[in-house]
Symmetry: C2
Subunit: 323 residues, 2 copies
DNA sequence: TATTATCCATCAACAATCGTGATGAGTTGG
DNA sequence: CCAACTCATCACGATTGTTGATGGATAATA
C-alpha cells in the first residue's frame, strides 16, 4: 500500500498556487531543483503526470487538478492534527462581518491563508453593509468587521486605501446619456454619498436608476450597460471601463477600508485574525489585468485615457490566475 | 510548518491496533527496530509521548488516543487519493444486508479492513433478520447478505460454523426455574426453531417469555437474568454463562453463517466485498475472554462445566482490546 | 535576428535519514 | 530461576533529499 508523502503534497500545492517551480521553491523554503525532483517523485508515485511543461510556463494536467482537492484535504487534516498537539495553538471561533463585495474579492485568499496557520479557529462570516455591521459590532454579535472607513465615526482602523473610480461598460456608452443613469448602493453608503455629492457639485444632470444592497449586483448592472457607478480599483472587472476627468467625470475621494472591533471581550482567535487581515491587506496585489484597464491614479488624472477596452488576452489571463 | 509523515502514521495505527511494536512491524512489513524508531520520531515531531511502555506491554497515552482519529483521517484521505488515480481500483457501491447481531460483532472490523483496501467503494448496510434479507435479495434491493445458512433453502454459501449454545446470566439462576423462561427471536429464525425443537424433544417444561427481532436485545434479556436463550459462540459476552448437558440442557445443532447473493447484475465492487468477507470470516479469531467462559465444543460436551463466571480481569481485557 | 533573462531538467557530490540485523536491558510466566 | 518475549539502542549500509552548477528551451526585448 503506497502512501502519499505530505512533504511532496505541500510543495505540489505551492506549485499549484504559483504555477512556477521557482516561486514554489521559495514558498516552501527549498531549492528549485528540490521542487523539481519532488514533483517528479510525486508523479512517479501516482503514475500520472501532474503538470504539462510548456517551455517556460507550466499548467496542471487534469490529473493534477484532481490531486489538488485530495492534497488540500490531507494537508488540512495534517495541520489540524499538528495544531491539536500544539499547546500554543490558537483555538476558538470568530464572528467576522464584511460587505458582500469585500467578501467576494478578499475573503477567499485571506481565509485560506488564515486557516492554514490557525487550523483550530472557526471563522463565521456575516455579510451586510457597513452600517449594519457597525450595529452588530455594538450589539456584540460580531467580533470584528471590515467596513468602509469613516473618520468621523472614528472607531475603525484604516487598513487599505484605493482610488474610487467611475466605471461604465466597455461595450456600451451609457456614460454619454443625459440624464446620466447611475447605479449605487441602497443607503448608508459612503460611496453613494461621494458619487452624488460629486455629481451635484458639477451640476450634472443624473438620476439613480439602479439601487441595490449588493455591490456585486451594482457591478453586474454596470457590465450590462444599464448605468455607470463608482467602484474601488480592486473591484474593477474585465469588461469595465474607467471614466476619468477627460471624459468629464468628477474626481472622487479615495475609497478607504477599515477594520472595526466589536465590544466583545478580546480573545486570542480574534486577535490572530485581525493581525492576519492587517498583513494581508497590506500585501494584497493588484490583479494582472489591471494594467490594461485605464484607471485614475495621481499621475493619470487629467491625462487622456488609453487602452479602454479590456482585451480578450487579459480576460483569459485573469481566469487562469484566479480560477 | 511541520508536517506529519504518512508512513509514520501508518505504523502508528498498526501499533495502535496490535498494541505491540513487534506485531505492528509485521503488519507494515518492517523490522521491529524500524517501528520503534518511527514511533520515536513521531513522538518527537508531535512533542508528546504516544505510548507508555509498561515493561513488556504498551498502552496509548491520552495524546496517543487523540492522534488515532487524526491519523485515520489522514490515512483514509491518502488512500482515497491514491485509489482515485489507480485505474484498476474498484469503484461503486454495494448494498449489504446482515442481521443486527452480526452487524455488531463482525461488521466493524470487516468494513474497516475493506475500506482500507477499497476506499472508493461505498457500502450501505441494511439490518434485518435472515428471512427479510432473503426477500430483499430476491427483489434486487440487496447485492449480498450475511444470513443464517440453511441447506434446504439452498442458495447461500457457508462461510462460518460455530457451536450454538444455551446461555444464561452468570449472576442469576433463571436456568433452574420451571417452567424455563426462554428468550428468542420473533419469528423465521432457525435458532429459535432449534431451541424449541430441542426442548420439546427433551419434554422440558418451558415458555417463551421474551421475544424480540433483535438478537442484541435477546442478549440483554439474558444478561438481566430474565430468561435463558441460545446464542452462537461468538455472541457470548462477559457476564454470560454457558449451560451444557451437565446442567441438563440439550445439545443444539451448529450455528451456520452463510453468504447469499442477490439477483442483481454482478459488479466488481460486490465481488470485492464478497471476497473480503469470505477471507475475514475464515480468519476471525475468538475473543480473548472466550477462554474463561465455559463453552460447548466437540471435546467439552458432556464434561462438567468449569470457570463459569467471567472474572473482572477478563472483562477489562476485553474492553482494552475492542475499545 | 540577436540578445538577454527566465524557466525547468539534470547531474555530481555531499549530507541526512532510514531500515536492517545484532545486541542488550527489562519483564513475564512457568 | 530460566526461557521466552518485548522494546530500545547501536553501527553500518543503502537510500533519499538537498544543494549548487550547468544546460537546453522559451519568451521578451531591442
Amino acid at each position: 500500500m503506497y502512501s502519499l508523502d505530505t512533504d511532496q503534497l505541500r510543495t505540489f500545492l505551492a506549485v499549484e498556487q504559483t504555477l512556477s517551480f521557482t516561486k514554489a521553491a521559495n514558498l516552501v523554503s527549498k531549492t528549485q531543483s528540490a521542487v523539481s525532483m519532488q514533483i517528479k517523485k510525486l508523479e512517479e508515485n501516482i503514475g500520472k503526470p501532474l503538470f504539462v511543461r510548456l517551455g517556460r510556463s507550466i499548467e496542471l494536467t487534469p490529473e493534477g487538478q484532481k490531486l489538488v482537492g485530495h492534497a488540500r484535504e490531507i494537508i488540512d487534516a495534517s495541520n489540524r492534527a499538528m495544531a491539536a498537539f500544539d499547546d500554543e495553538a490558537v483555538r476558538g471561533n470568530v464572528y467576522l462581518g464584511t460587505p458582500d463585495d469585500y467578501a467576494e474579492r478578499f475573503l477567499p485568499s485571506i481565509l485560506a491563508g488564515f486557516t492554514e496557520s490557525n487550523p483550530l479557529v472557526e471563522v463565521s462570516v456575516i455579510c451586510q453593509n457597513s452600517w449594519e455591521l457597525r450595529r452588530h459590532l455594538k450589539s456584540g454579535e460580531l467580533d470584528v468587521a471590515i467596513v468602509t472607513h469613516a473618520h468621523e465615526r472614528g472607531n475603525s482602523e484604516l487598513i487599505r486605501r484605493e482610488p474610487l473610480l467611475w466605471v461604465t461598460s466597455a461595450r456600451h456608452n451609457v456614460h454619454t446619456r443625459d440624464p446620466l443613469p447611475v447605479a449605487v448602493a441602497t443607503s448608508h453608503c459612503d460611496w453613494r454619498e461621494a458619487a452624488i455629492t460629486a455629481l451635484e457639485a458639477q451640476k450634472r444632470n443624473f438620476r439613480i436608476l439602479y439601487s441595490s444592497h449588493s455591490a456585486t449586483v451594482v457591478g453586474a448592472a454596470v457590465l450590462a450597460g444599464l448605468a455607470v457607478s463608482v467602484q474601488p480599483e480592486s473591484a474593477l472587472r474585465p469588461g469595465m471601463l474607467v471614466l476619468t476627468e477627460a471624459d468629464g467625470f468628477p474626481a472622487l475621494p479615495d475609497a478607504e477600508i477599515g477594520l472595526e472591533r466589536g465590544l466583545r471581550q478580546k480573545n486570542a482567535a480574534t486577535e490572530a485574525l485581525v493581525r492576519h487581515i492587517r498583513q494581508n491587506f497590506d500585501a494584497m496585489p493588484v490583479p494582472d489585468y489591471m494594467d490594461s484597464i485605464s484607471h485614475v491614479t495621481p499621475d493619470t488624472i487629467g491625462r487622456p485615457a488609453k487602452n479602454f477596452a479590456v482585451c480578450e488576452d487579459n480576460v483569459k489571463k485573469r481566469t487562469v490566475n484566479c480560477g
